[in-house]
């Protein structure tokens, strides 16, 4: 939030501002951990770095801790401080936002598990395109976090357009995977790739949601 601390605010209001800032910091911390987790699962899946998998598991626990803590902080602030207007929107949007972040974290853990299983197989032809999807989804997550940091309602809307790219890629790769003929050996590698693109598409959707919630904080409109 870009704000200047005005010393003519009454003491309770200043205290409230500080609490809101601390809450924002916690949300950004959680967001950063989710970004780290996403990046690590990408490395596990596409760069075959299996050490990354363990780190994802550890991060997931911390992400869940933050989720529970922020949710409880938001609800207690809403009850005790009775905020209005943008502050109220901020608190209610944060509660929803951390849910989206937590989901992205969970999908990231799923991707790490897929990485372990797909390690045994040679990479599929589509892997390059799926890797691009992952990069794109991570870019969307980063963009949504920047939008939150700057409280930029415009960027929130732009992420919606980025989502279309991921959806198109999903459709393309799905077509290739679903209509593969004359398979030699087991179908697991195809299955794993299918799950991967599904997870990535969901992660991109959750990033889009975050962007839209930021829009809501700023404009008060849901679109």
């Amino acid at each position: 939030m870009q704000s200047t601390f005005e010393s003519q605010y009454p003491l309770e209001l200043k205290y409230f501002r500080r609490i809101l800032k601390k809450l924002e910091q916690d949300v950004l911390r959680m967001g950063t951990l989710v970004e780290d987790s996403f990046r690590l699962s990408h490395q596990a899946l596409f760069e075959r770095q299996l050490e990354a998998v363990e780190k994802v598991a550890l991060l997931d626990k911390r992400i869940d801790q933050y989720y529970r803590q922020i949710e409880s902080d938001c609800s207690s602030l809403m009850i005790l401080q009775s905020p209005v207007a943008q502050d109220l929107r901020f608190l209610s949007a944060c509660m929803q936002l951390v849910r989206d972040l937590e989901r992205i974290g969970d999908y990231s853990k799923d991707l790490a598990e897929i990485a372990i299983r797909s390690f045994l197989y040679t990479p599929h032809d589509c892997i390059k395109e799926i890797e691009q999807m992952s990069h794109h989804a991570q870019f969307m997550l980063a963009t949504s976090l920047v939008a939150l940091a700057d409280l930029d309602g415009e960027v929130g809307r732009q992420i919606k357009q980025l989502d279309d790219t991921v959806d198109d890629a999903y459709d393309r790769v799905y077509q290739i995977l679903a209509f593969q003929k004359d398979l030699k050996g087991v179908v697991e590698p195809i299955l794993l790739m299918g799950l991967t693109i599904r997870h990535l598409e969901r992660m991109a959707d959750h990033a889009t949601n975050i962007g839209q919630r930021v829009s809501y904080i700023v404009t008060g409109l849901r679109n």
Partner: protein, 420 residues
């Protein structure tokens, strides 16, 4: 009569006025004296002008200090090391040019009040700052920083990874200052070196194997003196092959610790006994014996053959450096989730200069220690190195020190009972 009262009243009034004035002047003089007592005070100067002079002097001092602060800030701004400062609530209050470019802080201008986390989404940096505040001590941390996806396009994002080293300081009012350095060139240089050595060792393997085979064949066909020479060649060649194999093992363990290990249920006491049985003939030459303390059934999840390697190396070292008729002690302590293994000998111990380097590859310490052994049992210099690698691959740790009682070498290994 009324004239006298009038006069009296006037006089009293003047006295009070004069006294009041004196009182004020006295207080002003006290204030002036408290401000600076080194300046000469010409009693001839009036109080207001003294006050004016004092204020002008203070103003000049203030300007001087402001200039100095500005000079320091300008210097820090241009310094080739990145620096940033956050306040007690983690708002970024200042950063220099290098910090901006290193961490891609491009959405902030001086004077804006923004959380550091809004501008640089690095959990390691955030944790470093929190730790500095909670411990009150300077912290040093190294990590790989990924430049903000947002500032670069989605495609070539992983080119922007930097190895950073950060040193943080706690400042007054719970502010924290952090110096950051780009270690990327160092990391790259080290990786290049590692790769070169690895390539070299691979290349050396094949010719050495051929030489070894030929030497073996020769040894079988020759007689007396020539036979001895070819056996020497074989010996030395095998020593080289051993060195290379161990080096490669260490590198592989470093690269992929998890993939190299095959975990099984291992009982420590029996494993150590097996290793000692192998070494007994050599130990008995010097009448060195083993004392074991710690329990009969200590089970741990580990790679059996690697652990055997660890104890073989440690016990071999201990035998090499133990005097005759001494005892090598092994003590095992079982804790909730870990087991601690102490290997203590009664030799000369490590020299103070060697101690920080004992686990480095090919480090052999000062020459006096290697003189104890005959040339056929000379160490490769990699023994402790591979022990450390194996222990660390098991997610354990090892410490080398000198034992306070025996004066000999004391190696303490901590291993988790189960891999995490």
């Amino acid at each position: 009569m009324p004239f006298v009262t009038l006069l009296l009243g006037l006089v009293i009034g003047l006295v009070i006025g004069y006294w009041g004035q004196r009182e004020i002047n006295r207080q002003l003089k006290d204030i002036l004296n408290s401000l600076s007592d080194t300046r000469d005070r010409k009693a001839a100067f009036s109080i207001p002008s003294l006050i004016r002079r004092e204020l002008a002097h203070l103003q000049e001092e203030k300007q001087d200090l402001l200039r100095q602060v500005e000079a320091w800030e300008n210097l820090l701004l241009k310094v080739p090391i990145a620096y940033l400062q956050v306040d007690s609530d983690n708002h970024l209050i200042w950063c220099n040019k290098k910090a901006r470019s290193l961490l891609s802080i491009d959405r902030w201008q001086a004077g804006q009040v923004r959380l550091l986390l809004e501008l640089v989404r690095s959990s390691e940096l955030d944790q470093l700052i929190e730790k500095t505040r909670s411990t009150g001590e300077t912290q040093v941390k190294k990590w790989v920083f990924y430049r903000d996806y947002y500032s670069s396009s989605p495609v070539n994002s992983y080119d922007s990874r930097i190895s950073l080293q950060a040193i943080s300081y706690l400042l007054p009012e719970r502010e924290v200052g952090v110096f950051l350095e780009n270690q990327e060139s160092l990391t790259k240089a080290y990786q290049n070196w590692e790769r070169s050595i690895s390539d070299l060792t691979h290349e050396l393997r094949t010719p050495l194997t051929s030489i070894s085979l030929l030497a073996e064949t020769l040894a079988k066909r020759l007689q007396s003196q020539e036979k001895k020479w070819s056996e020497l060649i074989l010996n030395q060649t095998n020593r080289l092959i051993n060195l290379i194999e161990t080096w490669l093992q260490i590198s592989e363990l470093q690269e992929n610790p998890r993939q190299q290990l095959h975990y099984q249920e291992v009982e420590l006491h029996s494993l150590i006994n097996l290793v000692w049985e192998d070494l007994k003939p050599i130990a008995e030459l010097q009448e060195i014996s083993l004392s074991y303390a710690g329990g009969e059934q200590i089970y741990i999840q580990a790679d059996s053959s690697r652990l055997t390697q660890v104890f073989a190396n440690l016990l071999d070292n201990a035998i090499k450096h133990s005097p005759s008729q001494s005892i090598i002690k092994i003590e095992i302590t079982l804790q909730e989730q870990t087991v601690i293994i102490d290997v203590i000998d009664a030799g000369d111990g490590f020299s103070a200069t060697d101690l920080p380097y004992v686990f480095e590859r090919l480090y052999r310490g000062d020459s006096s220690r290697s003189r104890h052994t005959s040339s056929s049992r000379q160490g490769s210099g990699l023994g402790l190195s591979i022990v450390q690698q194996i222990v660390q691959a098991h997610q354990g740790s090892i410490i080398a020190q000198n034992h306070p009682i025996t004066g000999g070498a004391w190696l303490q290994i901590t291993l988790p009972l189960k891999p995490v």
